[in-house]
Symmetry: C2
Subunit: 237 residues, 2 copies
Amino acid sequence: MAGRAAEPHVIWARPERSGRGPRPAYSRADIAAAAVRIADEEGLDAVSMRRVAAELGCGTMSLYNYVPRKEDLHELMADAVAGEHELWEPSGDWRADMLRVAHQTRDLMHRHPWLPRLMSPVYGFSPNALRYLEHCLACLDPLPGPQGAKMELIAMLNGIVTTYVSNELATAERTRSLPWSQEQENAVRIAYLQSRIATGEYPRMAATFMEDPGPIDLEAVFERALTRVLDGFDPQR
Amino acid sequence: MAGRAAEPHVIWARPERSGRGPRPAYSRADIAAAAVRIADEEGLDAVSMRRVAAELGCGTMSLYNYVPRKEDLHELMADAVAGEHELWEPSGDWRADMLRVAHQTRDLMHRHPWLPRLMSPVYGFSPNALRYLEHCLACLDPLPGPQGAKMELIAMLNGIVTTYVSNELATAERTRSLPWSQEQENAVRIAYLQSRIATGEYPRMAATFMEDPGPIDLEAVFERALTRVLDGFDPQR
DNA sequence: ACCGCACTACGTACGGTGTACGTAACTACG
DNA sequence: CGTAGTTACGTACACCGTACGTAGTGCGGT
């Protein structure tokens, strides 16, 4: 019988190999790597059960022995790239450490632009997510206060990073499989926005775009956002 | 010929009625309302072109006269519920006003739990989104500083609200169309998490869960997050 | 007034998706 | 050594977005 999907389960609680039967031809790492490769090169929508099975070189339904539901495949992918986080010995300066974490996460998402889309629905605590969380908590040891507040800080920081990178990548990812370019798409949207602003119905929006019509420095915006969030949690300030 | 989809476009730039031909049987508002109704009652995944057409009482392909791509249907939905924002005369206290905005957005998302999933991909400035933005900027008039910073505040607040509500609703929405309950799903995940923590590999995570094993007061967490973000932008503090 | 064309309406069809189910081969445990 | 549980995988189903073709409709320009 194929993998049990008809009951709630966590993929990580399933043993990767379980005694009986022929030894599995692929490891979870193999499968995750294949899926990540496809997503990186062809976008997240190209990651279908059939496509991943083909990439591995096995039949479609064989994949269901390893991954009972597609959702689990997504968890595998998220965990695999979470493993790319390089963790370090906490420096003692929690602000510096958290900034470094945030930048690393941002880099990760730029390397794997599909990751933000997987972050929101995924609720689980995968092995590498746990390692990452534990590392963040270790970095926050110097910060006084209850553990709960630290978790809130981590969640907030992750949320901010995800939100900002999503914005950075939105158009780029959207136009991936479309027959027109990101520039064309942007041009059309900006033209529409300007036509709306030109009606005079939105004076403050107009003022905003008059103020700085050039392209926004997203890097600087990101940096400011981080600083402000950390400030909100900093007892020194 | 069916609606042109083979070039970049913004649905809002398309005139709803354009002289020639029979008068359209449905308005954009009708279509959006039908889609929103389906999403509210059966979840976002139930919103297919066929399903919406059926709800309207027309053939599937007729819908493409109004909505060239499914993505545009999503924009219609997001705009329709954005119209539920009730805007008020700014009070002069920008912090109070922004708190009120944030709570209203949160309520909106609780009323339409599929909204967060639509927020990230949607890049556009729909009519009601523009009204909402303009209102937020008006509320921020008393705040000194460049318009750009105000936009950053609005973006940040929206990001935070979306992130937090996503977390609140994650399991609920995930288990919508699944044959088991939210409680069962949660129980399985918590059991797994505890088994991982019991290994002792994650001492700080363990400490966190020892600290407060009861259910978290999500409302209070949300409130604290808002306060901290506003603090980060408040020159008075 | 009338012609033509842009529009509405919609059935059919194509290529894709996730995955339930059945069958055959294989291996470790009782 | 049997047998239960596993792997492997082909077939099939229901559903998706949507390209395309055809028929009917009513406004705009002449």
